[in-house]
Symmetry: C2
Subunit: 141 residues, 2 copies
């Protein structure tokens, strides 16, 4: 059952992504990278990713889920978003952008950076440099 090599291309793209992030291409990492990066931008928690992995028939430990998410984050191919107490979201969209956060549903929605103008930033305190600007607009029904 060939497909003209389309799957091989996706596979190669994932492998290249990990390689160029300085990460070894192990089976669990490649599989999780497929779930994370294979279907457009996503915002996902560790537990949700673990469920998805199990649902996909993969047997990957919880520790590996956390290790992998943290490694991807440190390697710069995932962004960590802090919107609620006690649980991190990981964002496959690493471009500069902001978020709507739907309270109760626990859902994040991207806002393009230029949809908000964060003008005239106050100057940072002496001796510090800006490592990120996070805008979260909280929503309810």
């Amino acid at each position: 059952m060939r497909d003209g090599g389309r799957n091989d291309e996706r596979q190669a793209a994932i492998v290249a992504k990990l390689k160029s992030a300085g990460l070894r291409t192990t089976r669990p990492r490649v599989a999780l990278a497929h779930l994370l990066f294979g279907q457009g931008d996503r915002h996902i928690t560790a537990e949700a990713l673990h469920s998805e992995a199990r649902a996909a028939g993969l047997s990957i430990s919880q520790a590996t889920i956390y290790n992998t998410l943290n490694q991807f984050h440190e390697a710069g191919i995932l962004r960590e978003v802090q919107v609620e107490k006690a649980r991190s979201y990981f964002d496959t969209n690493i471009s500069d952008h902001h978020h709507f956060y739907v309270e109760g549903e626990g859902r994040l929605i991207d806002i393009e950076q230029n949809a908000i103008s964060v003008d005239k930033l106050p100057s940072s305190p002496e001796g510090f440099r800006v490592t990120g600007v996070d805008v979260v607009i909280r929503l309810t029904k």
Copy 2:
């Protein structure tokens, strides 16, 4: 040792604040309110407040620290700020404003609302309303 009634005034102000927030004025609540509101705007964690209380000779349980912070928050006299995984900050400044967050030090610094112009907010998804706009500027040395 009189002081012209200045302490009584502060005490009365605290009591009035709790009353008008619909909260009973119990001894632990009044004592914590003094620590929280008696020395200008602050950003503090539950654990830090507990330490301060002990240092001030108060014996207040951990559960009461959490209960009180949550009640003050629900009553609208404290704001809860989510900047790092696994730990909440409570902010005695409940006006609309934003924050610098100094990573590593765990310190929050207020930014007046009009020091940043969050213009042309994108319209919220159909059926939702905005309950808050949080801007966090992360800093490092």
